[in-house]
Amino acid sequence: MLKTPESLATLENAGIYRAGRWLVRGVAFSIDAGEIVTLIGPNGSGKSTTAKMALGILKPDEGTIRRRPDLKIAYVPQKLTVDWTLPLTVQRFMRLTGHTSAAEADEAMAATGVSHLATAEVRTLSGGEFQRVMLARAIARKPDLLVLDEPVQGVDFTGEIALYDLIKRIRDEMHCGILLISHDLHVVMAATDRVICLNGHVCCSGTPTVVASSPEYKALFGARAAPTLAVYEHHHDHSHLPDGRVLHGDGSITDHCHPQDGHHHHEDSPDEIHSHHDDKRKHDAR
């Protein structure tokens, strides 16, 4: 086994088995300090499950997960509801899991632009405000590893760009590793070092291609977005049948999906990259 002592977290062939099926299987990747890794994939593809394995919330049923000892983690979950019975102000929420000083909390809230909400009750915040509050809380922890589960949901597009800028700045200034889960199959951060596409297993992974020139992309989001957001283009060289078998691009059907079984293209090779348009059509068809 290769030793990578500098990696914050390493997953090796990790999988979670629940109620008779594998939610996700054969996941392998690692995150180093100062690196942004983005997980993308359709609903139910195991993005959150994979993140929870990396966080240590879920124990893998097969494979191994190693985390650097004394790793300080900050987590921004996908959903967090605080109901009326719980009196919780933003200030108190900032110190939820650790002793964060008032100065650190103020600084973090200023960074995400929520200073004015310090005394507001958490349950009165809008979706976007709460996302930024959760991010502020995570930053204030000064983590080694920051895990963000769909941080841009409920945030409008301008806010999305600002949030991605902020995430990049956090990485640059705090030099922490960031694991980002994106609900969007096509749009990921330009600053992402590695994209991992999941669909019950790792479909493909690699660096995102900046497609500022793509006409569909510009039409969709406007030219301003180009320097901040990037499109990671890929197509699936296989699809999953309802019974769990795998239909490959060359027409063959196998029980499992192995990159080296000859049915697949070479991962991350240039011929993998097709136009955004093609890619989208494939997904719509599924």
């Binding site: 019975t85 919780l88 009750e121």
Partner: protein
Amino acid sequence: MLDDFFTRAIVAGVGVALVAGPLGCFIVWRRLAYFGDTLSHAALLGVALAFLFEVNITLAVFAVSACVSLALLLLQKRATLSADALLGLLSHSALALGLVVLAFMTWIRIDLMGFLFGDILAVSKMDIAIVWLGGTIVLAVLAAIWRPLFAATVNRELAEAEGMNPERANIIFMLLMAAVIAISMKIVGVLLITAMLIIPAAAARRFASGPEQMALLAAGIGAASVVGGLFGSLEWDTPAGPSIVVAALGLFVLSVLPAVSRSPVKADEPEKRTTDFQKETRP
């Protein structure tokens, strides 16, 4: 001073209220009202077993309640039945089992009503010592696990990811619940313990702007209910335990009246939130 039965009742009752308030906040936040009921019903089985094996009642009740809460944790992991069905099963079978065991012991004449509704006017100096000593320990442990327990209440996965060990906090919390039921059973009785946990916490909610504040307020409101209820029962010759709960209910009703509301909410909102809240706390 403690020679007067009424003074002893107040001292013991206030002691229970000070512990029940903060713990009750977690019951309300985590929607565990039915869980509290289950544990307190199981307490009767503890009473029966204490008579059977001739051991200390408080200890036996604590042991049985602790076993029931741990059994619940295990059963929930297996997850074949839903949580409320499991609670109902445990709650009523423990209560029925307790009554059956008591009925078998024909040589013992016990005042069942005393255990169901409490006998606060008959507390001894020993009972007071148990309440205050036990209560101090419970509050000290609660303070020690406060941060992880509260973090896990807000979001369990977040607490777990950030190294708060919510599982351990949960188990300790369940044991604290069992302890509170054991020490407060004599004061308000098996059937009314949950009321002492929930009503003061619910009444405190509207005036609290933070969890710690709500816990302190709940303790204060509980203590006021004990004093008010006991004086009421003296005045109108009503049973002491139920009078305390009625006093707490009165304070709760006062707290949800829109006029008393301190929070700057829109005119149509207090009404709606109150109903939502009541719906949620009902078992």
